[in-house]
């Protein structure tokens, strides 16, 4: 798998980097600590594959991680009309052209809705391409989201992702 080939050494910043880019060494230590306390979860471990005639079936591993800290690696969904406080991450790069197609989309079933911390819930996170490392608390079950979609797996972040200093 593409993402698994990526070395952790290049994942300079996790969600637990507090502060600016010039604090990287200190934050890297915190990030590593956070990663160590989180269970690795692959998007392919969300549901039984291939997906069956009656829809998604969660795996025992996914169910066992309810309300637990997990580490996910995936791609931020490029939304044409992003909303504040949440963004979607999945296992392959995906664009969703809501203006033209609405909820007729190419989202894989294993999509996680990432919720920003309360203090950042009014912010819209800028899209960045590439593979993201995310650590947070896993929440399960159907829920209406503010982007009009229904989520089944959510990741509740403790800290908003740091996107690095603007050049």
């Amino acid at each position: 798998m593409l993402i698994k080939k990526l070395s952790f050494s290049v994942l300079i910043v996790s969600l637990f980097l507090f502060g600016c880019a010039n604090q990287a060494p200190k934050n890297e230590t915190k990030a590593n600590t956070a990663l160590q306390s989180a269970t690795e979860l692959s998007f392919r471990e969300f549901y039984k594959l291939p997906i069956g005639p009656n829809g998604l079936e969660p795996t025992a591993k996914l169910l066992s991680l309810k309300d637990k800290r997990v580490h996910l690696q995936g791609f931020m969904v490029k939304a044409e009309e992003p909303v504040a406080g949440i963004f979607m991450v999945t296992l392959v790069p995906v664009n969703i052209p809501e203006k033209e197609d609405g909820p007729s989309d190419d989202l894989p079933g294993a999509t996680v809705f990432v919720h920003m911390p309360l203090e950042d819930s009014e912010k819209i996170l800028a899209f960045r391409p590439g593979a993201w490392d995310l650590v947070g608390t896993l929440q399960l079950g159907a829920m209406d989201e503010s982007n009009g979609r229904i989520s089944y797996v959510r990741l509740l972040l403790d800290q908003a992702p740091v996107q690095g200093a603007v050049e």
């Binding site: 594959l49 829809g55 044409e80 960045r128 079950g141 159907a142 009009g148």
Partner: protein
């Protein structure tokens, strides 16, 4: 035309001056069906906007704004001076008229109402005058006048029994040409072979505008073909209105509904998109919001006895799965099905619509297991290609092959070939999505034709959509839209085989079938600009070498090197050669000297000319901590001052400034080609409006044809 009794014409000027925005002037601000006569207050009746064949149903509707402090008590509708209904009460069971609050405008125009007569039809050919007369609570009256045409059909020739609409979404002339070059190649200036859609006997150019814009979206783009009338952006089978309910818009009858009602014909809908998407839905569903998936798919079943829907295939399983807490997989009562069913996109219909259209009431039922309901209603359900192949020819067939849109033809073929998207990947894209066994569109089309043929003694209407021609043109993904066009053309061949009794239908010709290939609109302004001057190996080297750098040579200072070194135009373009594999698709997506596409309606993008590993442009490099650019990406012309500050997105080629805002290429308003084959094909020709196609086809189906 509006005038207020008893002052008549003297008040016209006053009403015009006040306009629709005046909240205190008694006026009829909307009269449906739309007409130029009403829109110009009687100044002109040309062009004729709303047209119907004899007996085709449609709704009459008026929005009335009262004087301040007054209410509207009734609205009477007259055709050529003869009353056809008085709307004076809220919807009631068995009553086709209604008077309801115009909820979308009451905040600015208090007391406004929407008055309707549902399911009206007229058998008398010619231009008819529609008058609405509204009465206010103080007895004051206001009238408005519009017009519509009933198009007469004469009985002559042999009738078309089956209609097959092959709809290449977003497919303009260049999309077709690109597919031909890739699939068949050229020799000494001539195509080695035509596409199936090229081989059709008759051709027309189609004007694609919708009611409200020169550049249509897919909802009216499809609906206009099969209702004979113009609809607004995002709307399917309805005209605009002034209520906030997405399912109560004034309706016009679809070709499928009319032919089911009057001739007992069956309906098939096949798409590579989510089945609720605009094009499939705009053959049978009436809603002003194309995004209301729950209500749309519910109506497919709820009204299937009225539409005679017999085949429904595509993606979109997420709308058919139960949502909510009442259905789950044994975990805390919560649902993990992947259902997208939501209250906000579900539907109910008012009593007047039920009465006028014999339509189901609908329900807000997000926990509905729609797959089970289809099966209970006698439908066979196929969830993948294998199940589809083993389904035989059931009475009714439901195929749902993915949660939303099906994967793109290129990615489905890579799945069948076992090709991974990158050298480091260990799974195919269709495996990543969890649907490794999806059918190709031609396989779906053959099955649809077999099922319809076996169950339609009176004929059928089948719409087959190649959806991702459009979706990938939006993404400016040249390989994927071209391969989807090739997939679509293979489906076209199946329809031609059905007519001729060849291929999958060998020995069973169906000469009374009309097939036409068309598009709802063009997408992206796609243009064949030339071909790569490089072998693929050399192109990869060039990408690595030139990347996003620019020329330092005076004559081409600041121009992107990758572009200048790769794009061959005119004679340098030559004729790209793609080798076709045994499975019928190009052996390599990036052959030497590959075909190159430009986009006239493009958004900002990066170009490196090679096929993207995934159906989304992404660096696939670590994304954390990557800073947003410190400025809008620069143009590549003479701007070298920012080279040290990384003005480009790395690894994605050079930057091309978009013609349009946003991240997606857009539809364009140019005419698109239509080709036709079989009985009645000769009815289609010239440069015509998309609504003209409806009348030409219905003439051949209802009245017969010698062409």
């Amino acid at each position: 035309m509006k005038n207020r009794n008893p002052l008549l014409g003297f008040v016209i000027a006053g009403i015009l001056a006040a306009g629709a925005d005046c909240a205190s002037a008694l006026t009829i601000s909307r009269l449906t069906p739309p007409s130029q006569l009403f829109a110009t207050n009687g100044a002109t009746s040309s062009p004729m906007i709303s047209r119907f064949i004899q007996g085709q149903r449609f709704d009459l509707q008026a929005t009335v704004r009262p004087d301040a402090g007054k209410t509207i008590t009734s609205v009477e509708f007259k055709i050529d001076g003869v009353s056809v209904g008085v709307a004076n009460a809220a919807p009631a069971a068995g009553v086709k008229t209604s008077l309801v609050s115009a909820t979308a405008i009451t905040a600015t125009a208090p007391g406004s109402v929407s008055a309707s007569v549902r399911g009206y039809s007229n058998l008398v050919a010619g231009v008819r005058t529609l008058t609405a007369e509204a009465t206010q609570s103080d007895g004051t009256k206001v009238t408005a006048t519009g017009s519509f045409e009933i198009v007469g059909i004469t009985q002559a020739g042999r009738k078309v029994k089956n209609v097959i609409i092959m709809l290449g979404d977003g497919m303009g002339a260049s999309h077709r040409t690109a597919a031909r070059i890739v699939q068949n190649g050229y020799a000494q200036g001539k195509a080695n072979k035509k596409l199936a859609m090229d081989s059709f006997t008759n051709t027309a150019m189609i004007m694609t505008a919708s009611l409200d814009t020169q550049v249509t979206d897919s909802a009216p783009g499809m609906a206009n073909y099969v209702t004979g009338n113009k609809a607004n952006s995002g709307q399917e089978g309805v005209w605009p209105d002034d209520t906030s309910d997405a399912f109560d818009g004034p309706r016009m009858e679809y070709m499928s509904e009319f032919l089911a009602r009057t001739q007992g014909k069956k309906l098939g809908i096949v798409t590579t998109a989510d089945v609720f998407d605009a094009t499939p839905a705009a053959n049978a569903i009436h809603t002003s919001n194309r995004g209301n998936g729950t209500g749309i798919v519910d109506q497919f079943l709820d009204d299937s006895l009225r539409t005679n829907l017999t085949v429904l295939m595509g993606g979109g399983r997420k709308w058919f799965l139960p949502s909510g807490t009442t259905f789950g997989n044994g975990f805390g009562g919560t649902s993990f099905t992947g259902s997208a069913r939501a209250t906000g996109s579900d539907y109910t219909l008012s009593a007047d619509i039920q009465a006028g259209w014999n339509a189901a009431a609908g329900a807000i039922d997000t926990s509905r297991n729609l797959i089970a309901d289809f099966q209970t209603a006698g439908w066979t359900y196929a969830a993948d290609h294998t199940a589809l192949a083993n389904a035989g020819t059931p009475a009714k067939l439901l195929g749902l092959f993915s949660l939303s849109n099906m994967n793109i033809a290129k990615d489905k073929m890579d799945g069948r070939r076992g090709v991974f998207p990158t050298t480091s990947a260990t799974t195919t894209i269709v495996q990543d999505y969890g649907f490794p066994d999806q059918p190709m569109l031609d396989e779906m089309s053959t099955k649809a034709l077999q099922v319809l043929d076996a169950n339609s003694p009176n004929g059928f209407v089948l719409m087959v959509e190649g959806a991702s021609i459009d979706k990938q043109a939006h993404e400016m993904d040249s390989t994927r839209f071209m391969v989807d066009t090739i997939e679509f053309d293979k489906a076209v061949q199946k329809a031609k085989d059905y007519v001729d009794g060849t291929g999958d239908f060998a020995g069973h010709a169906h000469p009374d079938t009309l097939v036409y290939v068309t598009a709802d609109h063009e997408c992206a302004g796609a243009a064949i600009i030339g071909a790569s001057k490089k072998t693929d190996a050399a192109l990869q080297t060039e990408i690595a070498t030139s990347g996003n750098t620019v020329s330092a040579v005076a004559a081409t200072l600041g121009q992107p090197l990758l572009r200048n070194n790769v794009v061959g135009t005119y004679a340098e373009a030559g004729f790209p050669k793609y080798t076709i594999a045994a499975d019928g698709y190009p052996e390599a997506w990036d052959p030497d000297n590959k075909l190159l596409i430009g986009y006239g309606a493009n958004a900002d993008r990066y170009e490196d000319f090679r096929t993207r590993p995934y159906p989304s442009n992404d660096s696939q490099q670590p994304g954390n901590s990557v800073a947003p650019l410190n400025a809008y990406p620069r143009n590549n012309v003479g701007d070298t001052s920012m080279s040290s500050s990384r003005p480009y997105q790395l690894s994605d080629g050079y930057f091309i400034t978009g013609q349009v805002p946003g991240t997606q290429a857009v539809h364009t308003g140019g005419d698109i080609p239509l080709t036709a084959y079989g009985r009645g094909a000769g009815e289609l020709g010239g440069t015509i409006d998309n609504t003209d196609v409806f009348f030409a086809v219905m003439k051949a189906v209802v009245g017969g044809t010698t062409k």
